[in-house]
């Protein structure tokens, strides 16, 4: 296991590549999810407001 993590002495480079990529991919997905949530919430609020106006 340690041997695997050491990557033959190249650990900082290999893991630096893979982990940064994994991290940023997660950031992109979380950001999308957050954007979708807030947009949906906003659209619902707007829809409710227009409904109230109509009544």
């Amino acid at each position: 296991m340690m041997e695997f993590l050491a990557m033959g002495g190249y650990a900082p480079y290999v893991w630096g590549s893979y982990l940064v990529m994994a991290g940023l991919l997660v950031v992109e997905m979380v950001q999308l999810r957050y954007r979708r949530r807030s947009l949906m919430g906003w659209l619902r609020r707007m829809a409710r407001l227009t409904d109230q106006e109509a009544k």
Partner: protein
């Protein structure tokens, strides 16, 4: 013929796109997870170390696919932008805009991994190698596209103007690539280019293929998800948006 064109038209209509993409995204996401899992296992555990570069060559499994994705996505973005500009198809405009951030991210990964691979290989983080330099310029092109899109308030004008920029960019990409390569050979720079792994073993090749597919699936999933959000934003007053809102609570 006419039936087919009607079919095509159906998917360019925002509401249909929204539903279709909503059904597709989970599938592409699942494929992404499966392919990444397989690719990472093969690339990090199964594949043997390179006889020259040791384990550092494993960076290739993400460097090469992301570099390809960065370039492919730019071309794809320009194609969508052109379709949107010429035939005024809203969905194409939205797709172009949705591709840009992912394309830029992929290009950034290619640069980042290239630098980290360069250090053990050449002893420096950055060499002005033809491919890395072209990728850097490609990243700037992406950033310019997104900055222009963000700078213009009117959505229609923003789409049209950045479409012109994307088309100009895509014409320039090969010119830039060849001139940079030419410059590189003239200046006798680094003679090892990053992607020339010496005699690639089958297992390495298969792994690379799987990782490339994974990058594709990831890009498709994320771009479709982002395009759905863009559609909602653009069409927020349309009646179909309201129906979907109620259905998804």
């Amino acid at each position: 013929m006419s039936e087919r064109s009607i079919q095509w038209f159906r998917f360019t209509a925002p509401a249909n796109f929204y539903d279709l993409a909503g059904r597709l995204v989970p599938w592409f996401a699942a494929l992404t997870v499966a392919l990444f899992a397989a690719g990472l296992y093969l690339g990090l555990v199964v594949a043997p170390p390179d006889y020259q570069q040791g384990d550092s060559y494993r960076i290739m499994y993400i460097h090469v696919p992301t570099a390809w994705m960065g370039m492919f996505l730019y071309v794809l973005m320009a194609i969508y932008a052109a379709i949107g500009l010429i035939w005024r198809i809203k969905m194409a405009e939205i797709m172009a805009k949705a591709i840009a951030p992912t394309g830029a991210l992929m290009t950034f990964f290619a640069l980042w991994t290239g630098a980290l691979w360069g250090r053990p290989t050449w002893g420096v983080f950055w060499v002005w190698d033809a491919r890395l330099t072209s990728m850097l310029i490609l990243l700037f092109l992406y950033l310019g596209y997104m900055a222009l899109h963000a700078a213009i308030d009117d959505r229609q004008r923003a789409s049209n103007a950045s479409a012109v920029l994307a088309m100009v960019g895509v014409v320039n990409v090969p010119i830039i690539y060849f001139s940079v390569q030419w410059w590189n050979t003239l200046h006798q720079g680094a003679s090892i280019t990053v992607t020339d792994a010496p005699t690639m073993a089958t297992i390495m090749f298969v792994t690379l293929l799987i990782m490339t597919l994974a990058a594709w699936m990831y890009s498709i999933a994320v771009v479709l998800a982002r395009a759905r959000i863009e559609v909602l934003e653009r069409e927020r007053k349309a009646s179909w948006v309201k129906e979907r809102l109620e259905a998804e609570t």
